[in-house]
């Protein structure tokens, strides 16, 4: 028997402070009003974090405004770019430390943070560093202007990566920022603040305020903020859109999704099965663009499900710090409860849930990768975003039926299409109401590639030239 021995990465690669204040005006404030942040795989406390108050938010916005007026807007693009290049380089230098920190605070496997998250963080900064002195080519004419001060709120599923998606283009375009990481995953943002210091970024250009939803609401509502960028749930996105209605504030919103992953009978089946697994089980399914609905052509339903189940038996669930772990911990007790509730609802409505046998560790929050078959567009598990490693399976007979079912959602973030026929793929891409269409692949991200949704998945794009536009005046 070939059993893999434990292969743990070393926790010593990162040292957290006992407690953290906010990062405002280039300095850390004294910790106050603190709450604990934990490792969801073990429930151990990692550090104490400050809960941002109205005064903290105001302080941060003032620092951002001062930096914008006095320093940042007076620098030429080439110089802004060089700061971003410095940040990118330091991220590369500290990449292993950042990967360990992210795994400890988020619960996702070290292999993912090491091989996916952190490299994308570095490449996002590298990419946008190169735009800073080329804004004339953004598509808004010569000399486009920044908005000014931007409030950015990022979620817990890809903490540092979402921070990079927000800060890099904002700074490249000439804005200054106040960013709030999610309450359960603040640590890599605080390490990023240290990186800003190492890069000698001028004070106040980047400010990090930690806290909960109320802190975020204050950042959105502050009168001296010109633009909001938010990634998170559709519910909160809706609140923000209402909050800024009638004001001059611009917003981009990256919200939820319920993507259809469509497998045609002429797909490269083994790769399609990999794509299904990658689409919903990568990052424990905590992905807004997860392929959470499998639409499989009826003629190949049996072989696909059979291969999928066999493949799922090889998924390794466990200690996120073990280099061989595929699925890590669920980020919080709240999220675990939600996933469990929805799956039970799915079974109650007539679906059949199946999971491979997984040894579930004692402490921490865990959910085995699960598929629910025998469900249809009317069922809760097909309509609602579960945000966990749960795949709902439906069938279709014709391309038209696949399109209708795929589009039958209030969301429209992403979609997957699996077929060896080019003309079919391109026609599907035309017809699918999704901001990102992945053909014969899934969950591909690149700083050069615009990402964002239709409908209630939000508006605005991140990545590419399009991702720059939302940080410049003359665009939404």
């Amino acid at each position: 028997m070939f059993d893999y021995s434990p292969a743990p990465e070393s926790k010593d690669l990162v040292k957290f402070q006992a407690s953290y204040g906010h990062f405002i005006g280039g300095k850390f404030t004294k910790p106050a009003n603190t709450f604990s942040t934990i490792n969801p795989a073990t429930e151990q406390v990692l550090a104490e974090i400050s809960h941002g108050t109205a005064k903290d938010v105001d302080s941060a916005v003032k620092a951002a405004r001062t930096a914008y007026e006095k320093t940042w807007s007076k620098l030429d693009g080439a110089t802004r770019g060089k700061y971003l290049y410095r940040i990118a380089r330091i991220i590369q230098e500290r990449s292993r430390e950042l990967a360990v920190a992210e795994t400890l605070n988020n619960g996702k496997p070290i292999r993912e943070t090491r091989d996916a998250d952190i490299p994308l963080v570095a490449s996002w900064f590298f990419y946008y560093a190169g735009w800073a002195d080329k804004l004339d080519y953004a598509g808004l004419g010569a000399n486009p202007k920044a908005h000014g001060v931007v409030s950015q709120i990022v979620p817990w599923n890809f903490p540092l990566m979402m921070l990079a998606w927000k800060i890099a283009p904002a700074l490249a375009a000439g804005n200054t920022v106040v960013l709030k990481p999610a309450e359960t995953t603040p640590l890599t943002a605080l390490l990023f603040a240290e990186i800003c210091q190492q890069a000698e970024l001028p004070d106040g250009v980047v400010n990090i305020v930690t806290g909960f939803g109320d802190t975020g609401a204050m950042m959105v509502g502050h009168p001296d903020v010109n633009k909001i960028a938010f990634t998170g749930s559709t519910d909160v996105g809706r609140i923000i859109a209402k909050q800024i209605a009638g004001t001059d504030k611009k917003a981009t919103l990256e919200l939820g999704g319920k993507a259809a992953n469509i497998v045609f009978e002429d797909a490269a089946l083994d790769q399609a099965v990999e794509g299904i697994v990658n689409g919903i089980f990568f990052n424990q399914g905590h992905v807004c663009c997860a392929g959470s609905r499998l639409l499989v052509q009826e003629s190949v339903q049996d072989v696909v499900i059979k291969k999928l189940k066999a493949r799922m038996e090889n998924i390794r669930l466990g200690d996120p710090m073990d280099k061989n772990t595929d699925i890590g911990a669920i980020n919080s007790k709240e999220q675990l409860t939600k996933i469990d509730r929805l799956v039970k609802q799915g079974v109650k409505e007539g679906g059949e849930a199946w999971a491979p046998s997984c040894v579930i560790p004692k402490n921490g929050f865990w959910y085995a990768p699960t598929i629910i078959t025998g469900v249809s567009p009317a069922n809760t598990v097909v309509r609602e975003e579960i945000f966990g490693p749960v795949l709902s399976v439906m069938t279709f007979r014709t391309p038209a039926e696949a399109v209708a079912k795929a589009n039958n959602s209030q969301y429209g973030l992403s979609a997957g299409v699996w077929s060896e026929k080019g003309s079919r793929i391109l026609k599907m891409a035309d017809q699918l109401n999704a901001g990102v269409v992945w053909a014969n692949t899934f969950n591909q991200f690149d700083p050069a590639s615009p990402f964002g949704g239709f409908k209630e998945s939000g508006y605005g794009r991140e990545g590419g030239r399009h991702g720059l536009l939302s940080y410049l005046k003359g665009s939404n």
Binding site: A268, L269, D270, Q271, T441
Partner: protein, 321 residues
């Protein structure tokens, strides 16, 4: 031993047309997806006890190979002695599965191996090119079988495959398989080399795998080791998927042998991970998985030494063969 009815599998009488239809109806292979899956499996971290197990298994799965024009009786004898005692400093070291030589060297190998359990595999059928008439290729095979070869590694006719003459490829395999029968009713074990480097595309490699499996060999093998692209991890993953699907369909278990270009213990362990997570544990035995290699053995021995002693070894502490 279970057998299949090829006509039942293909769905009609075996003609070039029916074979073509059958092979071209197999699902395609997406190159980017296949290579990404392989790369991901390559990140598995195999340490301590699992590493020790893997290193020992890798040795047991080796077909220790010498296939040079300059081979002589003494050269073959020296390699056989190495196979019998791979590491004189550690007599717990397991032995490889087989020695692999040209047909006219089989008698020397048999003599040198004596009563050891190590098999003698012979390459045959105008290896490596396969460019000779069928009678010549059969005579080549019979010579090796008569000299005492336990296993025959044949090559398919790539020219026939690439020009769509699938029936020719199939018939040649059946003919060689028949030539493996001995007078006493036993038969030499047959491995079919696809020469994946010449087939180039993954779609071709899947089709060639199925065509070969239809003829009922014991193993399908990637390469001769004599062309610029030999065994690779994605190709091997693809072939393991093929044998797994074949088993699900027919209950017949066929082995896989990657050959050529596998030089380090690290590589060999990656292959074992691919076997485990594709075809499964049933293939993790020399009966169903082999490495065609030569310099690999010493690197595995050095890794083995490091696990025992705790420090890195060197060239002087493993024997030249």
């Amino acid at each position: 031993m279970p057998t299949i009815d090829p006509e039942a599998v293909v769905g009609s009488r075996i003609t070039n047309q029916s074979l073509s239809r059958w092979l071209h109806s197999l699902p395609g292979v997406d190159k980017v997806g296949l290579e990404a899956r392989t790369a991901s499996l390559g990140t598995r971290s195999i340490k301590t006890a699992s590493k020790a197990w893997a290193l020992d298994m890798a040795i047991q799965m080796m077909d220790l190979t010498t296939l040079e024009g300059a081979d002589t009786k003494e050269r073959v004898r020296s390699l056989c002695l190495k196979a019998i005692t791979p590491d004189p400093t550690d007599l717990t070291t397991p032995q490889p599965a087989a020695i692999c030589v040209y047909g006219d060297m089989v008698k020397h190998a048999k003599e040198a191996l004596g009563k050891n359990k190590i098999h003698v595999a012979a390459v045959a059928t105008a290896f490596p090119s396969g460019r000779a008439s069928l009678p010549v290729k059969i005579a080549d095979t019979k010579d090796a079988v008569n000299a005492g070869a336990d296993e025959i590694d044949m090559v398919i006719d790539r020219g026939a495959f690439l020009s769509g003459n699938y029936l020719e490829v199939y018939k040649q395999i059946l003919a060689v398989k028949a030539a493996c029968l001995r007078k006493d009713g036993t038969r030499a074990h047959l491995k079919v080399i696809l020469e994946t480097g010449e087939l180039e595309t993954y779609d071709n490699i899947r089709r060639a795998s199925y065509l070969a499996m239809l003829a009922g060999p014991d193993f399908i093998k990637t390469s001769t080791g004599k062309v610029s692209v030999n065994a690779t991890l994605p190709i091997t993953l693809l072939m393991l998927q093929a044998v797994k699907d074949w088993f699900d369909q027919t209950k017949i278990q066929i082995g896989v042998k990657p050959a050529g270009g596998i030089r380090t213990a690290k590589d060999a362990i990656k292959y074992l991970v691919v076997v485990k997570e594709t075809a499964g544990e049933k293939w993790l035995t020399p009966k169903y998985f082999r490495f065609g290699a030569s310099s690999l053995l010493n690197d595995v021995l050095m890794q083995r030494q490091k696990l025992t002693t705790g420090h890195y070894s060197g060239r002087d502490y493993v024997s030249v063969d």
